[in-house]
Symmetry: C2
Subunit: 243 residues, 2 copies
Amino acid sequence: MEITTPAHQSDHYFSDEERDAVYKSIYLRRDVRGQFKPDPIPDDVLARIIKAAHHAPSVGFMQPWNFLLIKNAQTKKKIHDIFLNANDEAADMFDSEQGEIYRQLKLEGILESPLNMVITCDRDLAGPVVVGRTHDKSMDLFSSVCAIQNLWLAARAEGVGVGWVSIFNKKALKQALKLPTSVTPVGYLCIGYVDHFYAKPELQAAGWRDRLPVEDLICFDEWGNTDNTEHKGLIEALSKPAE
Amino acid sequence: MEITTPAHQSDHYFSDEERDAVYKSIYLRRDVRGQFKPDPIPDDVLARIIKAAHHAPSVGFMQPWNFLLIKNAQTKKKIHDIFLNANDEAADMFDSEQGEIYRQLKLEGILESPLNMVITCDRDLAGPVVVGRTHDKSMDLFSSVCAIQNLWLAARAEGVGVGWVSIFNKKALKQALKLPTSVTPVGYLCIGYVDHFYAKPELQAAGWRDRLPVEDLICFDEWGNTDNTEHKGLIEALSKPAE
């Protein structure tokens, strides 16, 4: 078999305005836990954000994801109970002062958001050998994560809030959703229109952790080499405020 | 400690044009393996795409990533050799017909791209207990993946190509980059301006795998429930061509 050269993109360029819009979605995206409004998401909007997820990169073009949509109040209640159990366990893992703050954090909007969505990864979808996954078995999970991030940014551009809930006993979650053994729930998302988006990530605003200065996270050619003599321009550009 | 309510975003809305630009970056993003031009990426452009990565969501606001920039020809050569070894092993894993096609696939641009970048995850950065990672230890790796996807989309909007290479013996890669035990190389990226972007993913164009119809990937409330009687509008919207 001969591989033919594929066609090129004709609409190649982004204007400055288009480029800035991409950055706007990246900077204004928030992990939304509250502020959900009950308004349903119109089918065309929901279809667009699901298609954005489906156009994520995937290892070996595997597209290992499914989209499990949850609107049923009983199902949500069951999932919320699984969250509550895990969240109690989580709170006890912190020392008493941190644990006290932890218990005040709002970490999910399972019941309030009009739509929950599970983005899964079928580990067996493409057989045992997948291009690009031969040496890192997690690459298919990472593909599903890229789908989530696409969905998250698309949703923000649509004015729709998304929160990723990860505090579950995975076995209980799989059982509640009847997922087969080979299917992993990669992200449990709460989705809906919101009253507002916060200006800063909530954990940052709550003083839990600060944003790290990005210029401190750069090294060159090998770990620990932060000699930036030849990269002064880059470090200077990184040190400028982002927005 | 009392948690104060953080400020809201004032610049809340996206125009249709801004929204469409976000989708444009999602649809035109490609995994680039060839077509790299040697032109260096200006500091301000590189700083913007690194900052986009740094504004990814992260579990417990952990920001577990570092950005290891590789321009040194000797280092690239060493990494390329590690790829070649792994790629030979990979080719042997396929049956003879698939193996023959596999060997024709161009899967990386390590030497040709002007910049390689490793996005890492420091598993120990925030101590043993992290908000949101108590029940899924992979959440910090997933945060680094979100950073990669942000970078990928930002780069596309800047006209910069990015390819993710995952065919490495991880131990050899860590050793070559002198990564400490706690630091995982999540994504090895080849970055640079390109002659053109392909209209379709290369594996799709090569006939390796087709894009799955997204409407077949939806289920409701539990796995296997594809009864869409109440969701006909969504399925119809999903079935329309994406672009």
